[in-house]
């Protein structure tokens, strides 16, 4: 008995651990169709700082995003872009300052999440059929399935899958390529209804430049009334946005209309120039041998 007591005690304490989880306040479900016509969510960050594992990842960020605006977020890797949108998804809580959505403090996450479309390579694809993956979390969709398939360029994927809609995608979408998986994530987000906030974090990773451009244009058309935050490394594509935020080292260093920022020659302008230099000077260089792989065939 003496020998077994510590083991039993530890086991019991471990089993009871989840009971200590913070309780979530009940939030009323948004009435069906009520939010459909509503405009995008307005977001207000006031002196927000975020600390992760002792490190400050966002410093004193103040920001006003009007409802329905489309905002691009750019900056080097580790600048705090994902942490910024992570506040709206509920992954992070401000260490200082406050976040307000529609002039209300962002306390309970459920109602905002219901109205949020999230596209990110981190969105999990379940080891279920393609259909179940597409329909995951979908309700009150504003577009039919066929349109989502078309818009996300999934038709060719669907035709190539041996079981069509019933094909299992493997855990984390292991049975489809990275680009295909990303398009499934996009179609899933497109099928969500009543979207007031769209968060796209490197949404088209694994796709070619032209595809990225077209898909971005489509999602901006689809969510034209919603507030759209897009984290991207395609700096040139952000010129078409209403507004650009430039983050660096966890600080908001520039923000404003992209054309004006580009002309001003600050960080944003330097990023555009650097991207252009890479494209023309490096990738277009003669030193590269170009191979084209299309539908599993290599053309030299």
């Amino acid at each position: 008995m003496r020998v077994q007591y510590p083991a039993c005690r530890n086991l019991t304490l471990r089993l009871l651990e989840p009971l200590g989880a913070p309780e979530q306040a009940a939030e009323p479900a948004t009435p069906a169709g009520a939010s459909k016509a509503a405009a995008g969510a307005s977001i207000h960050f006031e002196n927000v700082s975020v600390r992760v594992a002792g490190h400050m990842v966002l410093h004193d960020v103040s920001l006003e995003i009007p409802g329905g605006s489309h905002v691009a977020i750019v900056g080097p890797s580790g600048a705090g872009k994902s942490s910024l949108v992570g506040l709206l998804l509920g992954w992070r809580r401000p260490a200082a300052g406050s976040v307000r959505v529609d002039d209300a403090p962002l306390d309970g996450m459920a109602s905002l999440r219901r109205q949020t479309a999230w596209v990110d390579p981190a969105v999990h694809l379940f080891n279920r059929s393609l259909f179940e993956n597409l329909c995951y979390g979908a309700s009150q969709s504003s577009i039919p399935m066929s349109q989502a398939i078309e818009a996300a360029e999934l038709k060719s994927v669907l035709e190539s899958l041996p079981g069509g809609f019933e094909t299992r995608l493997g855990e984390g979408g292991a049975l489809v390529s990275g680009g295909e998986g990303q398009r499934v994530r996009l179609a899933r987000a497109m099928l969500r209804g009543g979207v007031r906030l769209a968060i796209l974090d490197e949404p088209f990773r694994g796709l070619d430049r032209e595809q990225r451009r077209q898909l971005l244009a489509r999602v901006r058309r689809l969510w034209r009334d919603a507030t759209l935050l897009c984290i991207t490394h395609d700096i040139a594509e952000t010129l078409a946005f209403d507004r650009v935020l430039v983050l660096e080292g966890g600080r908001l260093v520039e923000q404003g209309e992209p054309a004006r920022l580009a002309r001003a020659g600050g960080r944003y302008g330097a990023m555009i120039e650097a991207e252009e230099a890479v494209r023309t000077g490096l990738w277009s260089g003669e030193s590269w041998r170009r191979l084209c792989l299309r539908e599993g065939r290599l053309n030299g």
């Binding site: 999230w118 259909f131 969709s141 399935m145 038709k155 019933e166 299992r168």
Partner: protein
């Protein structure tokens, strides 16, 4: 007269491997092991070792290079076979179990281990011996003590010297029965059965003596001493049986783990991609259960069999005679039927457990996605109590299941569980495990039930598809297409239509 060592030259190493495989019981069929090309002894590249490993693989064997120390040579030689021991510059010794050597005509020869040892380490002994003799000559020791001192010093200085030895054993992918045989498990199992049978027979005999003495009024010193002797004899037999059981469990467990690891490494990459971490984790958990149940259940079955045979004999010799013995046989037959039924049902539980583990792990991995994309009121939909929270076709589900479970409860109930029933605990363990799991993870069980329901029912997937389809394009009339494009078309099912229709 000095014995000649039966050496195999390097040019005939392939023959040596084949002979060892055949006479060592490692391989039945003729394998592919050609003799090696010209390989120099001391080229330092390890080519010879690599050749032995690859030639062994051609015979479906595994060769592991190890060293045999001079200080422990005799014992290692007995335990090493089948093996090849290298005598540098001269050739190889083919060693069978028990240290018996196989000569180049494939005839087994027994030699003194000391002679083999001096042949293997002869070169080093000679070089060390010359120095040692000079040292001893100057030491001034008495003549009669010199040989003993020389042997001791030589042994100490040679102690660290090692001879290269390739241990041969069946490849982990070889027949499992052959691996068991090679590990000597059937022999040890027989010994265990013998020890247990003897122990049990002595135990019955001791009670017979006590009963006889009491009933006939002959409780004298002689009978008492006889009874005491019998009881005392039980102790070493019990120790022997326990020791045999322990070594048997270790060896069999090791082989089983090796086999499982081999199987895990040979899984098709596509299969593992399909399964994901959840099902693989489930397999790991299952493998532990397999080992536990196979070993403990196997021992218990063996012990029970012995006890049942003796119990039948005792009943037949008792007051009831053959009628009582027949009753026992009938009861055992009934128990076997129940056990077989439990085994079948347990298989269903195992599949459900695998699904549960997969589902749980995937939910954990996709937790963030679930939080953001799935409405809170649907979080526990799949994990809700479906079908009573128990997967279909498992024990204790339905009247027949309850009868079986009840019979098992009655069977297992009582202050002292009949030992002859122990063997069937393997089958009876199913519902116990299932009950435990059901209590700990009702949500997971229900989730697995849902997964099984979807998998088992032909229309299950289509039902789900149509429900979700309706949610996707709400407002469309039944029968209206919810997807049309190219050669793909989906249609919402008409109420009451054939569930097999859909996509």
């Amino acid at each position: 007269m000095a014995e000649t060592l039966p050496l195999w030259p390097v040019s005939r190493l392939g023959d040596a491997l084949r002979a060892l495989a055949k006479h060592g019981g490692l391989s039945r069929g003729p394998g592919e092991a050609p003799n090696p090309p010209e390989i120099a002894w001391d080229d330092g590249s390890g080519r010879l070792g690599r050749w032995i490993v690859s030639a062994s693989a051609g015979l479906n064997l595994e060769a592991e290079l190890t060293g045999i120390a001079s200080s422990d040579f005799e014992r290692s030689l007995r335990a090493a076979g089948p093996a090849l021991i290298e005598i540098r510059g001269r050739g190889f010794l083919a060693v069978l179990a028990g240290g018996v050597l196989l000569d180049s005509r494939s005839i087994a020869r027994r030699m003194r281990p000391e002679a083999i040892r001096s042949a293997v380490f002869g070169d080093r002994e000679e070089s060390l011996g010359a120095d040692l003799d000079r040292f001893l000559a100057e030491s001034g020791l008495a003549e009669r003590r010199l040989p003993r001192v020389r042997a001791t010093l030589l042994g100490e200085r040679l102690g660290a010297a090692q001879a290269a030895c390739w241990l041969l054993r069946p490849s982990p992918g070889a027949s499992f029965q052959r691996q068991l045989r090679m590990a000597g498990l059937p022999r040890r199992l027989l010994a265990l059965a013998g020890a247990h049978a003897a122990e049990y027979a002595l135990w019955i005999l001791s009670w017979w003596m006590v009963g006889q003495a009491a009933l006939e009024g002959r409780f004298d010193r002689g009978w008492l001493l006889g009874w005491m002797l019998l009881v005392l004899t039980l102790a070493p037999l019990k120790v022997l049986a326990t020791w045999l059981q322990g070594t048997l469990a270790l060896s069999a467990g090791g082989l089983l783990k090796r086999r499982l690891l081999f199987g895990a490494l040979r899984l098709e990459p596509d299969e593992t991609r399909h399964q994901g971490a959840g099902q693989l984790l489930g397999r790991v958990i299952e493998s532990e259960a397999v080992e536990f149940l196979a070993l403990s259940g196997g021992f218990q079955a063996l012990v029970s069999l012995i006890e049942l045979i003796l119990a039948t004999a005792v009943l037949a010799a008792g007051a009831g005679g053959s009628a009582h013995a027949m009753l026992l046989v009938v009861w055992v037959g009934f128990s076997v039927l129940l056990a077989a039924r439990f085994v079948r049902r347990t298989r269903l539980w195992s599949e459900a457990r695998l699904e549960m583990t997969h589902d749980l792990v995937e939910r954990l991995v996709g937790h963030r996605t679930r939080l953001v994309q799935e409405a809170p009121e649907r979080w526990h939909e799949a994990a809700g109590p479906t079908d009573g929270g128990i997967p279909r076709g498992v024990p204790a589900h339905g009247p027949r299941g309850r009868v079986v479970a009840g019979a098992r409860a009655a069977w297992m109930a009582g202050g002292r569980r009949p030992r002859h029933c122990a063997g069937f605990r393997l089958g009876a363990r199913g519902p116990s495990l299932a009950g435990g799991l059901g209590g700990r993870k009702p949500a997971g069980v229900a989730s697995a039930a849902e997964a099984r329901r979807r998998a088992l029912e032909p229309g299950g997937r289509l039902d789900c598809l149509e429900t979700d389809g309706a949610a996707v394009s709400r407002g469309g009339a039944p029968g209206a297409p919810w997807l049309a494009g190219g050669e793909l078309a989906g249609r919402r099912r008409q109420p009451g239509a054939d569930p097999g229709g859909g996509l």
